[in-house]
């Protein structure tokens, strides 16, 4: 594997080191401005005014064959916060999420225009290896999708494919603890993951994603297939995760976005980003009339 910047955090270094918040971009890429202010962050609670931008899209367009799914989307996602994407279904939320870790590469008809920068580097540059990119940007899907393997093997999967097999037991335990699942499964790590309940399966998928210690975690409606109790567990978990990771979550549930996110992006039909701001601002005093209509349930 080439030692480009998308891989350098995986080999040799302590995996916990690269999650440190405010260290400058290790690649020293001149294109990234470390002090970028995210638009209108004045009321962000966690950070006092500024937060480092981890992900930034500029004029992003995505097409599936001739259908345009995203239209000129520009936004900047701050580090170690929860950014929510809301909007009616079919408005391109999943598409945006799947662009970030280049999961859209798996769909032959998808085509991407514009810029999408991760730590200053355009992820669609020719020299970016999508496999290495996905090792730094984990993903959790809408429906829990554990492998039909044991609980242990599920969590260890990423470690194995990324060749980080030292102290595997420890790392598996740490990931399960972090995903608030350890106490429920510690005596049955050999049991098939498919025997767990839906909520447990989804927490297992989260454990699987964080076991390899990514920098960003993308979640596509992670609780939409779960009952209210399992959902609230996942929401608590997301709150915790934001201490160590940058979390981007898609949800169609506005209360959920309001509860757990620091920033909210509202997409409306046609793949347009209509408003992106602090969550408080979006829900209390949105600038855009259409956003207000959507939030108050007048359409959507």
């Amino acid at each position: 594997m080439t030692q480009d910047e998308m891989t350098d955090t995986n080999d040799g270094t302590d995996p916990t080191a690269n999650a440190a918040a405010d260290t400058p971009d290790p690649s020293g890429d001149p294109l990234v401005d470390q002090s970028i202010d995210v638009e209108g962050t004045s009321t962000t609670e966690q950070t006092s005014g500024t937060a480092r931008t981890v992900l930034e899209s500029r004029n992003l367009d995505v097409y599936y064959d001739d259908v345009q799914a995203l239209n000129d989307v520009s936004l900047a996602i701050p580090a170690k916060q929860v950014t929510a994407m809301i909007g009616p279904s079919g408005c391109g939320k999943s598409t945006f999420l799947r662009c970030i870790n280049r999961m859209n590469d798996l769909i032959d008809s998808a085509r991407v225009d514009g810029e999408l920068r991760f730590e200053g580097k355009d992820v669609y540059d020719d020299d970016v290896d999508p496999v290495a990119l996905r090792r730094r940007i984990g993903m959790v899907f809408q429906h829990p999708n554990p492998f039909p393997k044991s609980i242990y093997d599920n969590v260890a999967y990423g470690l194995r494919v990324q060749n980080q097999t030292e102290n595997m037991d420890e790392k598996v335990e740490r990931a399960l603890k972090h995903a608030a699942l350890w106490d429920e499964v510690k005596d049955q790590l050999d049991k098939s993951a498919l025997d767990l309940s839906g909520g447990q399966q989804q927490r297992l998928c989260i454990a699987r994603a964080i076991a390899v210690d990514p920098e960003v975690i993308l979640m596509d409606e992670p609780a939409s297939a779960l009952d209210p109790i399992a959902t609230s567990k996942i929401e608590d978990l997301i709150d915790d995760l934001a201490e160590d990771y940058t979390v981007v979550i898609v949800t169609h549930n506005m209360q959920q976005a309001a509860r757990i996110s620091d920033k909210t992006a509202v997409f409306l039909t046609g793949g347009e980003l209509v408003e992106f701001d602090d969550t408080n601002k979006i829900f209390e005093n949105p600038e855009n009339q259409r956003v207000e209509d959507y939030i108050t349930g007048k359409f959507g």
Partner: protein
């Protein structure tokens, strides 16, 4: 009022007509299903009756076996069917495992005696052991040098299989001596070890280790694993004394233990441990017990059994001009060798093509259209008549590549071409049935395409792939037309002595018997051959069904 009444009756009339139509349709569908099944069933019964000749037995013989075998096993079977579904499943799995195991043992004996002598197998297993040892040692010292390891393994494989003969390569390397291959080393030893002695380290120990390892994992106890491995070894080595006594020879005993007793034992253990459907385990016991009891009773009462065409003599002798002496053995060996060629060539090629088409090939753009075109034509190829494949085999392998006419290799390749599209299509279906969410999960973890295919897609798709390919291999065994076209021998007296020598095959032999004028051939030998072939096919299909049921998703 009146009009309303009228309305209601007419609606009711409509409903009745529609219900009636539904019933007629259902009955017609049922009839269509039944016609096919009944026709084939009657034909098979007829042929089986000719092959077994049940009516040549004393009525007393029938009565005895009816009482000891038919009544108890049907009664028990019906009871299980009605009362305890789990036990029913256990019953047929245990029975199937036993049957497959016995057949496998027979095939292995034929394999070792006719095709791949014990000495060769011994040499190969030593070469594999050396390969394994090299891998383990290399992995310990240079863990991440995977390319280097692959290269080393290839070199080791070449050296162990071929050695470094005196000559150019040895001189190039500046070796003052040459290294013999493992095989050469064994062949040059002054005394060749006995067959069973070679079998112990090369087959008994590996199987014992595998069984022990399996039980150790299942029971989470080292002791259970050791006991299992020990039991396998002891059970096999007992054959040194017992094998000749029961008439299967030492090697035969060992192979029966390894292919029948071991899987059956593991299955029984798992059923007992899970405590589900234990009762089903009694079913094979009832069958075997009933047969033994019936045999003893008929012998003591002096009832003569039937005098079947299909008997031990038929299975173990060559064909002959006198129907009573005719047998199927050499062509059975020929068919097994054909199957070896077919499996070794079509499985990797077919599954490889399926993996490429499903996992790698682009699905849009110009290339995507090309791939679609190829896929459509694979479907078409599956429908091309088998004679055409025979012609292709004749032109390609015999005329163009100058392979010997009617040899095992040509027959295997021609029939292999015939079933290749079927294998590709069924493997594609199995791979396609792996949900995309599994692939996404894997890619999302930063797995490469190869890692995803190897760790997620293939393990999930394997049972489906195996089911489909076994069914295709069953089809291959019965194919006759291509064998006629490429000139397989009509009837042979000795098994082929290599893959490049001329050979017969079961269906080809059956075709030959069908052309005899002697009614004893037509009404005796021919049905016996047909029943043998159909039995093999049924067992293969049964294996496929067992695999499918066992690994079905969600169970």
């Amino acid at each position: 009022m009146a009009t309303q009444d009228g309305l209601e009756t007419s609606r009711e009339g409509d409903q009745q007509v529609s219900r009636m139509r539904g019933r007629i349709f259902e009955a017609m569908c049922l009839a269509a299903t039944a016609i096919g099944l009944v026709a084939v069933g009657i034909l098979l019964l007829y042929v089986t009756a000719d092959a077994i000749r049940p009516f040549s037995a004393d009525p007393g013989w029938h009565l005895v076996f009816f009482a000891t075998l038919v009544v108890p096993s049907t009664g028990f079977g019906l009871y299980l069917y009605a009362r305890d579904g789990n036990a029913g499943k256990v019953a047929y799995t245990a029975l199937g495992l036993g049957l497959i195991g016995v057949l496998l043992a027979g095939a292995l004996v034929i394999l070792f005696v006719e095709i791949f002598p014990y000495g060769e197998w011994f040499a190969l297993s030593i070469a594999l052991a050396i390969l394994g040892a090299v891998t383990v040692v290399h992995r310990r010292y240079r863990r991440h040098a995977e390319t280097e390891r692959t290269g080393l393994l290839i070199v080791t494989l070449l050296v162990t299989v071929f050695g470094i003969p005196p000559g150019a390569i040895a001189e190039l390397l500046g070796l003052p001596f040459y290294i013999p291959s493992v095989r050469g080393l064994i062949a040059s030893s002054p005394v060749l070890p006995l067959d069973w002695i070679m079998l112990v380290p090369s087959l008994v120990l590996p199987v014992a280790a595998a069984a022990g390892w399996f039980v150790r994992g299942r029971r989470e106890s080292n002791r259970a694993g050791l006991v299992t491995a020990g039991a396998v070894i002891v059970g096999s080595v007992l054959g040194v004394g017992l094998g000749p006594v029961v008439g299967v020879g030492v090697e035969g005993w060992m192979l029966i233990v390894l292919s029948t007793a071991v899987p059956l034992g593991l299955y029984v253990e798992s059923v007992l441990r899970r405590d589900e459907g234990r009762l089903g385990l009694l079913f094979p016991v009832v069958l075997v017990g009933g047969t033994l009891l019936g045999a003893v009773l008929t012998r003591t009462l002096g009832f003569a059994g039937p005098d079947p065409w299909l008997d031990w003599g038929f299975l173990t002798s060559a064909t002959s001009t006198t129907p009573a002496d005719a047998g199927i053995y050499p062509v059975m060996v020929g068919s097994i060798m054909l199957l070896i060629v077919i499996v070794l060539t079509t499985f990797p090629v077919g599954v490889g093509a399926a993996i490429y088409l499903e996992e790698y090939a682009p699905s849009s753009g110009l290339m995507g259209r090309l791939v679609t075109l190829i896929e459509i034509n694979i479907g078409n190829l599956a429908g091309v008549p088998s004679v055409v494949y025979g012609l292709l085999g004749l032109a390609l392998f015999v005329r163009f590549f100058q392979m010997p006419t009617g040899s095992v290799i040509v027959g295997g390749l021609a029939v292999g071409l015939l079933i290749l599209p079927i294998i590709i299509i069924s493997a594609q279906e199995a791979i396609r049935s792996v949900p995309d969410s599994m692939r996404e999960a894997s890619y999302g973890m930063g797995a490469t395409r190869w890692q995803t295919v190897r760790n997620v897609v293939l393990p999930e798709a394997l049972p489906g792939i195996l089911t489909g390919t076994i069914l295709a291999f069953g089809r291959a065994i019965g194919e006759t037309a291509p064998l006629l076209m490429i000139g397989m021998a009509a009837s042979v007296r000795v098994p082929p002595n290599g893959f490049f020598s001329r050979s017969g095959a079961m269906p080809r032999q059956i075709f030959q018997w069908a052309r005899q004028f002697d009614p004893a051939f037509l009404n005796g030998v021919l049905p016996a051959g047909v029943v043998t072939l159909v039995f093999v096919l049924l067992v293969m299909n049964g294996t496929a069904i067992i695999i499918r049921n066992r690994y079905q998703r969600g169970s």
